[in-house]
């Protein structure tokens, strides 16, 4: 299948971060178009590990809080936006923007705290935070001898 390559906007040669961005763009493409800003990918897919929480920041321009649906059910976090941008009576002369609708789910890791999941949307940037349970210290079992 041929797919137009629109993710790469800056050649790696002229941008020190170009290669990483191209790589990110490739991963975004592989993970159903979900763009990720500044993230490592270990652990919870697309989220970055901030020690006490997994955090994901992503651009969702045009999406208002009312368009967004965030749920945690049976250990699965789902984020969805169903939006059909309408300009009734207007004629599209030129279009570059992608349909902002999306749906993405993650299985939360064992150490996640589902009750503490939060979503913050400001100026078209969505930040999801999944808090982690503090690491439980291994308990040393004393060996009793007689």
């Amino acid at each position: 299948m041929l797919v137009p390559w629109t993710h790469v906007r800056t050649p790696a040669a002229t941008d020190p971060f170009g290669l990483r961005r191209d790589w990110d763009a490739l991963l975004d493409f592989a993970f159903d178009g979900w763009p990720v800003a500044g993230g490592g990918r270990a652990g919870l897919g697309g989220f970055r590990d901030e020690g006490n929480a997994w955090v994901l920041s992503t651009d969702v321009p045009g999406i208002a809080p009312a368009d967004l649906d965030v749920t945690v059910r049976d250990g699965v976090l789902t984020v969805a936006a169903d939006l059909r941008p309408q300009r009734t009576g207007w004629t599209a002369v030129h279009r570059e923007r992608r349909n902002p609708s999306f749906r993405r789910s993650w299985s939360l890791p064992k150490d996640a705290q589902p009750d503490g999941v939060s979503a913050h949307l400001a100026n078209g940037v969505l930040t999801l935070t999944v808090p982690r349970r503090p690491e439980t210290a291994p308990r040393t079992v004393p060996v009793i001898t007689h």
């Binding site: 651009d59 045009g62 923007r97």
Partner: protein
């Protein structure tokens, strides 16, 4: 430790980006919808110079300064003096109404 912080501040990278734009038209009015996620009204600059609308915005993403820039040519039929813009949910909407065409009646003189 403080020196380290300063060095880091100096090495912030600038990343140029051309935002995506949709262009719409109705009854001679043209509207641009420009994707500027993470940008607030105070971080956008909009100007018109010789028939080109220039949109510039800044945004910090982690250690990187993203610098959005887009130049959009507009037709002679639009009135840049009455340009209007607002930003909401990371999308800048720029509206350009048509020029008022003054109708001049030319008297026809009898010979």
């Amino acid at each position: 430790m403080e020196t380290q912080t300063n060095e880091r501040a100096e090495t912030r990278a600038t990343y140029p980006s051309a935002p995506r734009v949709d262009v719409w038209r109705r009854d001679g009015t043209v509207t641009f919808e420009v994707e500027l996620p993470g940008v607030t009204a105070s971080d956008v600059a909009l100007r018109e110079e010789s028939g080109v609308v220039v949109i510039e915005a800044r945004r910090a993403v982690g250690d990187i300064d993203v610098r959005y820039q887009r130049r959009l040519r507009i037709g002679d039929d639009l009135d840049p003096e009455r340009i209007e813009a607002r930003i909401e949910h990371g999308v800048l909407t720029v509206t350009l109404p048509p020029r008022d065409v003054a109708t001049r009646t030319i008297p026809v003189n009898a010979a």
